[in-house]
Assembly symmetry: C2
Homo-oligomer: 209 residues x 2
C-alpha cells in the first residue's frame, strides 16, 4: 500500500518510514518544512510538503493507508497539543475518510482510555482520547496503538501487545514503529485498540493467537 506517514520527521515517524521502506509498502513522508526533505530523498523516500496546522488535504491524493505519528512534543505549549495532537489527528481522519483511505493506524498513548484518572499530562491524554474517539466513529478501518513510556533504546524486536487494561511499562520508539507497521497489515488488528510495552513476544508472533 501507499502509506502516508504523518509526522514522518518525528522520533517515531523516522523509524516508521524505515520499517515501511523494508516492507512491501511504499511510504510517503509528510513533512512541514523544505529542509526536512533531503533526509528522506537520500533514502529514496517520496515526500509531500504539507502542514497539519494549514491545509494538508493534498497529502491524501492517492493515499491508501495512513500512519499518524505526529505530535507537538513536550517543548511546545498545550495550545499546540490541541492544535496538532488533537485537531490535526481529527482532521487527518476526516480527510482520510473523504479520500477513501483503507487503513488508518493511530499512534496514541497509554492512558488515553482514562484521561481523567491521570496524575500527569492529563491535558495531553485528553487530547489523545478525543482524537481516538473521533477516529473510532469515523467509519475508517482503524487501529489505535497506545504505547507506554517511549525510550530511545535500540529496538528489541520483542514486545507485549495487548487489548484490555493497560499494563504500565516502557518501550523503545524503534519497536513502536515496527508494531505500527505490523498492525497496518494485520487483519486481526482492524478496528481495535492495543496497549504496547516491551515484552517477550517476537513481533512475528504478535496477534498470532
Amino acid at each position: 500500500m501507499r502509506v502516508l506517514v504523518i509526522g514522518a520527521n518525528g522520533a517515531v515517524g523516522k523509524h516508521v518510514v524505515d520499517r515501511l521502506k523494508e516492507s512491501d509498502h511504499q511510504p510517503v513522508a509528510m513533512v512541514r518544512d523544505t529542509d526536512q526533505i533531503p533526509y528522506f530523498e537520500e533514502k529514496n523516500v517520496e515526500t509531500v510538503l504539507a502542514d497539519l496546522e494549514k491545509d494538508f488535504e493534498k497529502a491524501f491524493y492517492n493515499t491508501e493507508a495512513v500512519i499518524f505519528a505526529a505530535g507537538s512534543g513536550p517543548k511546545t505549549g498545550a495550545d499546540k497539543t490541541i492544535i496538532i495532537d488533537q485537531e490535526g489527528a481529527i482532521e487527518a481522519a476526516d480527510l482520510a475518510k473523504k479520500h477513501g483511505v483503507n487503513r488508518f493506524v493511530m499512534l496514541s498513548s497509554m492512558g488515553a482510555d482514562q484521561p481523567k484518572q491521570a496524575e500527569q499530562i492529563k491535558h495531553y491524554l485528553y487530547a489523545k482520547h478525543r482524537a481516538d474517539e473521533h477516529l473510532k466513529t469515523s467509519g475508517l478501518n482503524y487501529t489505535i496503538l497506545r504505547p507506554g513510556r517511549l525510550t530511545d533504546e535500540p529496538a528489541s524486536g520483542k514486545v507485549n501487545v495487548h487489548e484490555g487494561s493497560p499494563e504500565r511499562g516502557s518501550v523503545p520508539r524503534a519497536d513502536v514503529a515496527s508494531v505500527l507497521v505490523y498492525l497496518l497489515s494485520a487483519p486481526r488488528a482492524e478496528n481495535k485498540i492495543f496497549n504496547l510495552i516491551e515484552g517477550s513476544t517476537p513481533l512475528s508472533d504478535v496477534l498470532a493467537y
Copy 2:
C-alpha cells in the same frame, strides 16, 4: 425549572444566577470552593460544591436544565483550556444526558464554528468547537450561544442575536447572561446555534420573528 449553573462564580455566571433569580426559574450555583458559597447564600441561592476537574455528577441530581458558563480564563495555561473548557463541557453534557436534563444552554464563543481560520486564540476556539460538536450530537435539547468579545460594560438590554455567519463585535457580559437565560425558555432556540453582539433589539423581541 431547576437550573444548574456551571461556572456560577465566573464573570458571566454571576450575572446568570442573578437573572435566573429574577425569573421563574430556580438557580443552583455549582461552585468549586467553599469560600465561594457565602456570596450565593447571601442572595438566597442554593449551591452545590463540585469541581469540573473531579467527579461532579452529584450536581446533576434533580437538575432540569443546565447553563454551562464555565471557563478556565486567560490566566491559566492551555492545559486548563482542554481540561475545563473542552472536557468539562463534554462531561457535563454526558452527565446531563444521563440524568435526563431537559435543556442545555452552552456559552460558547464567536469563532468556534471555524477555529482553523482564527488568527488568535486558535486553541481556545478549537476546544470550544469540540465541546459544541459533542453537545450537538449528544441527544440533548441544546442551545449554543456564541458571543463576540466580552466586556464589563453595564447591561444595555439591547442585542443582536442571529444565526448564520458571525458578525464581529462586542457585548457586555451582563447582556450575555440575560440572553442565556432568555434562550433557556425560548422554544425557537431549541437545537440551534446563535451568534451574539450588542445591537438594537430589546431582549423581549429576540427570536420574535
